[in-house]
Symmetry: D2
Subunit: 298 residues, 4 copies
């Protein structure tokens, strides 16, 4: 297919490259000319604006942008996508934004005659490069089915989560629980070791008991428990702490909009906030365990 | 074997019965004469005090008591177990108490010539009745091996966690993480549903993503997601909220003793405290989700 | 003076009336025709839009709107105030919004040649009616001096807080501390009484000790401690809980924007969130003490 | 009077010295022979045990000990005060312990025929040296009146708080609110300054508004706002952070015992816990503001 791709950052660029590898033709756009040029070298057609992407022969457009403000500007702004794109063309936004904004943009797209899916991802830059992302998709079932083979070039786990906005809902709810779990795992591992237990034995007990969770059995934050996780390599790579902070902010803001309390989530957000304020924003989010050791620095 | 069993409450009575079923001879004791009589009917020998149990021909003694104060009184008090028991006899305390108290009593036992294990359990009254408890055991390896076949009459998962006290450490760390996870799952499920998602679809996404945890995939607190969990039957049965509150109190107190912060654990403890104060102490701990619904009552 | 007044809600209407009482001529506007008519009956000139207010002979314009979105729409929207108002005319926004939005609008006004002050208030509807509000004002000193006599018709405490936006900063910081203090006072009073102390004696000790604060010595949340506060009349009147929730949301969002942690503030926000979700949004914010009594409802 | 004084630490020694200055005769005891010797040089009679103090001609005995365990040992232990002291002699415990322990010891004293007061203090080592302490006293009114002139040699503010244990209740409730207020003041000052406001102007606004509290108007944690407070001298002196942590621990434990939630208090305790774990235990408790600055270290 001829696919338009807007947003070639840390996630968008490898995602676009996987689409090229799968044999699709790409028309790409990004604020960074260098990012566009890099994709052009691998065969994509360079466009200088979202409007240009809309006017290209792309049959489907994917956007991967940093925040709701960018998504609204690209889709709704003057000369934006909805201004220029022909009705019927499927729009897929893989940015991570709040569900209410996603629904607002999807409703505008629908009014313009364009089906739209929200399809935020998880799996980080590693998953983007490896084509193993998880896509959590919101929108109509038939549009989900149209998109599935395209998304499959970039990801392994493509899940339909319900109507428009529910992809964002699923992601924000999962990442809310993930942030709480990771801090909980850090807290419990640190307490157990401080009380005299061997970290690996403790993790083994937890992982075969009711405390079992991904943060403990697959991504344990305590050094020496698992190999090949960020805790084993100085917390480099992985899923940046400032991105977890962003997701917890989306969760607490979405909760505020619908009047839901998020006690542990709000505290988790503040813990990641202080950790990022200390300068550790680039470390993997499992590095949060450093709030729990007496030296308090990675 | 001839086994002494002190403490025949909601947990101790079914545990003792399983020892009888396995063919062991029991000498039992409890403050409640009725509890002692009930066990005597099934073949145990009644004793009127811990000292009497010590003087019986029991070759191994198990205690199952409500709190550290009871454990210290039974073992260390005047005329208590250590006063009366012959050296060499193995002592197993399956009460859930703080690790420092467990180590204090074990050291006193050791000084008296008695090996001692802390072997707190998880699995609740259902696990006690079914003989499917998990035992988290602290103490010397050779004593663990001696105890293992006895514990296997009462449980399925017998784990050696390290030296004296580490059984309590493992349990308190696991239950700290469990309390945090359960509230996190309640928070994320409630938020996702409030934002418009179907509860089962959301749980499915979480359980195949990084938010996966026992509280979500095996004991989900949102009604209608899983069958045969307390959420499916009005939160009756299971693991009482006041027992989770007790465990979180042990965790925060142990943390205080060793100077470890427990940010999410302390807040989780307060959430269970307010829930219990509202009169819901007997409901399963997954009922905590009711703090997150607009009606705020089960 | 001839003053334009846009926004005649629970706060704006009594504020506008006090300007009329002080002898000023008013041109007023509001989405509610009834609100405009009510002011017109007392002598104000009715306008049908902010643009019409701008085109009137008003020499100074005051806005009192619910949120940043409204302020941006009224000032920056097409046909909005800045489109129509003549350069040099002083603009005063008394809405409570986040400081960054206030600075954005003030910068746009300045670029248009209009000095602008942010002048959010405290004192509630009672203070608005009584003309006893506190104004926390941000903007240039000479503009503050020009505005002071006008504000003095509506308030008793007119404070210059620094440059543009600092009025909002002062209000959000004060109300962050107020929310934390009120919950802290509720927590301490409830604990002391639960431990057996007489509430009045306890308040007396606190108020002469280091725990002394406005929430304890002027607005104590425990019934029977002070007369003539909401706690003495079923928590009616006063400062609504949903308005405190709004202010705590502004504080946590401003904190997020500048990377500051707000641990207690974030938790205070969640406590007011659950209280409002229970249906108590109209009760005075000191009613939060009901989270601390065993009946858990006002 | 001839007064017995047991416990000559950082608080007890200067308190005892003030009693000597007021002309009383002292019989003193402490685990530290050096502490006893130092008091003996200024005229006190040295005793080698609490029992010896009881057997002296002291007409009233004051204790100043670190924790409940010490108080119980000194009063209730074998050969302890209650073993040896003659009935009718007034006992005053100025240690800071939990109210339930204070009531337990007072009940034992009463059963022995000795009136007893709990009279914990605030004002720190500076207040002890200056004789300007606040005493929060629990016990019978006539015993309070008998004690008042004695306490007046050591303090300026002598408050009767109700029956036995209520002195401890008043102190723990006040210090719970103080810990919350100080962190709240640190949070609000740090946020306001990060948002661009001058610290002194902000403090001025808060102190004339509803955020007003002792922590802001008398002991502001932000450097440069007040002179002659710890924030003005590197947070040296004052009221140590580990003592505030101890008091918050007493508050949360007392709350746990009576089933009261303490949401902000529990989080405040964890914040002081992490601050102490970082090695800042000796700094004044207002140094907690360092959790809120980007450098995160005093």
């Amino acid at each position: 297919m001829h696919i338009g791709f807007i947003g070639l950052g840390n996630m968008g660029a490898p995602m676009a490259r996987n689409l090229l590898k799968a044999g699709h033709r790409l028309s790409v756009c990004d604020l960074s000319a260098a990012a566009v040029a890099a994709l052009a070298e691998t065969g994509a057609s360079a466009c200088d604006s979202p409007a240009a992407v809309a006017r290209s022969e792309a049959e489907l457009i994917i956007t991967m942008l940093p925040a709701a403000a960018h998504v609204k500007a690209v889709y709704l702004g003057e000369g934006g996508l909805l201004d220029q794109v022909r009705p019927g063309l499927l729009l897929i936004d893989s940015s991570t934004i709040d569900p209410l904004s996603a629904r607002e943009v999807a409703a505008a797209a629908r009014a313009h005659g364009n089906p739209m899916l929200d399809a935020p991802v998880s799996g980080g830059t590693a998953g983007a490069a490896a084509g193993s992302l998880t896509f959590m998709v919101g929108g109509a079932a038939e549009d989900f089915e149209r998109a599935r083979p395209i998304l499959a070039a970039m990801g392994k786990n493509i899940v339909h989560c319900g109507d428009a906005g529910n992809g964002q809902v699923a992601k924000v709810a999962n990442n809310l629980l993930l942030g709480i779990s990771m801090i909980g795992a850090a807290e419990a591992m640190s307490l157990g070791v401080a009380l005299g237990m061997d970290a690996r034995v403790l993790a083994g007990v937890i992982n075969s008991s009711s405390g079992r969770c991904w943060s403990s059995d697959t991504y344990n934050p305590f050094p020496g428990v698992l190999d090949d996780v960020p805790a084993a390599r100085g917390y480099r790579g992985g899923f940046r702490s400032d991105l977890m902070l962003k997701d917890l902010g989306l969760a607490s803001e979405a909760a505020r909009q619908v009047g839901q309390p998020v006690f542990l989530g709000a505290l988790a957000q503040q813990l990641y906030q202080v950790f990022v304020a200390q300068g550790h924003e680039a470390l993997d989010f499992s590095a949060i365990i450093h709030l729990y050791n007496k030296d308090n620095h990675p």
